[in-house]
Symmetry: C2
Subunit: 234 residues, 2 copies
DNA sequence: AATACCATGGGTGTATACAATAGATGCCTC
DNA sequence: GAGGCATCTATTGTATACACCCATGGTATT
């Protein structure tokens, strides 16, 4: 199973098996505790989780497979710094896949599924009012993975999960000029179309929603990768 | 990078780094040297490749991430036996993603790209005339990954690569009643639509092609998973 | 005779030890 | 004083050793 999929529910921190470690690191990245470019030393992680480097390395390999971190041979593991090109490609991929997901959702969703989605959106609203930025972002992403899971194609759902996780990293890396409210509002509008079983409109709304999120980013080529000490301190 | 993507070109067998080992195993699976359900003992693989179990385990983890093998805790690694459901989902996912790939291909493909595809199809024809079943299947799969790469979205291309590899395993596992010729012929027809830049038709043809491949399988629930010794020998 | 239990062996899961490599610091030279 | 080189340290890459678990085969019991 993919790391980002293992992340679904917060993950217990008792049993520190490999997946749990990978999920914890993925969480920390999504929560901006580990900014893009941060070094992930194996020994340090091993002490934190109370396991040997063997397990840590396995977790890091998994995360690298999900493109959340970059493994540089001989150098170590670093939180990924998605390129502008990668960012655009992820969004395009999401438009393609989630468009199909939405169509499937309309076909197969029961009243209960719609209700679940409505409740999820309500939770988003609550988090925007009083929750942490971290929980807001998590919920906004989960909206998409939940839809994908309901749609019933586990293969596509897993891909969506990975892409959603990568999107979180992308929105962290590139300055995000959109508020969480904008996304939540678009989720609401999409839900309305889903309730009416208006497939065409729902697909269009999902595509627009993803495009809007992408447009909200400042996709400059000179990424904030290596912080320029001179301009920062001079 | 994903294992199935590292497989692209046959892979040298000199430097036995982790990716190379994973690619070699993936090759062996695709070549039906390792049938679904086959046990992949770590020590045995270690001796074969002349490395320790450490590296073997890394390679196995990668392959498990690509769903080519199944890791059962405490039991070991086995060549995957895709479920009927998984098979259907893989094909549906491919229709969604490769439909979009085809559309993109028509948009961005240069005359050179079309020529490359034409040459690839010619190679398919040659392999069908005189090549091994192994090279035939490889070429038929590569057609799709090549298209995805030309289309220019690396994220989607990687997903396609993985799905193509899983498809190989699926067609091995479930009796395939279609000849290689059928697929090659459909590739030719698709190419004709691509040359005319007929997006709508090309997308439809790709979707039909994938559906035809799926229909050619005998997706029976009682998979040949654990060979029934009683019926086999009685 | 069939089933349940125990012992034994092969293989996986994890940790640790060792080797190799990259980065940094200091020194030497020009 | 600046640049290049050597050494040194810290961290990664790999192998090996040990602990544990599951599976198999045998034995004893019902």
């Amino acid at each position: 199973m993919s790391v980002v999929r293992a992340l679904k529910r917060p993950a217990a921190n008792a049993a520190v098996d490999t997946d749990a470690i990978a999920a914890r690191i993925a969480e920390a990245i999504a929560a901006q505790k580990l900014p893009p470019g941060a070094k992930l030393g194996e020994e340090a992680l091993g002490e934190i989780f109370g396991v040997s480097r063997t397990k840590i390395r396995q977790a890091l390999f998994q995360l690298a497979g999900d493109k959340l971190i970059t493994l540089i041979p001989g150098r170590g593991a670093f939180v990924a710094q998605p390129s502008v090109r990668e960012a655009r490609e992820v969004f395009e991929a999401r438009r393609v896949i989630e468009g199909a997901i939405v169509a499937r959702f309309v076909e197969v969703a029961t009243a209960k599924d719609i209700e679940m989605l409505r409740e999820h959106i309500a939770e988003e609203a609550r988090a925007i009012s009083g929750g942490s930025a971290q929980s807001r972002n998590r919920l906004l992403g989960d909206f998409h993975t939940v839809m994908a899971e309901v749609a019933g194609n586990a293969v596509l759902a897993e891909v969506v999960s990975e892409l959603v996780a990568r999107t979180s990293l992308i929105t962290l890396f590139y300055q995000n000029t959109r508020g969480a409210n904008d996304s939540a509002e678009e989720h609401r509008i999409l839900l309305a179309a889903l309730e009416k079983r208006d497939t065409r409109k729902a697909v269009a709304l999902m595509s627009e929603h993803l495009s809007n999120v992408e447009k909200g980013l400042v996709l400059r080529e000179d990424a904030p990768g290596a912080p320029d000490l001179r301009s920062a301190l001079g």
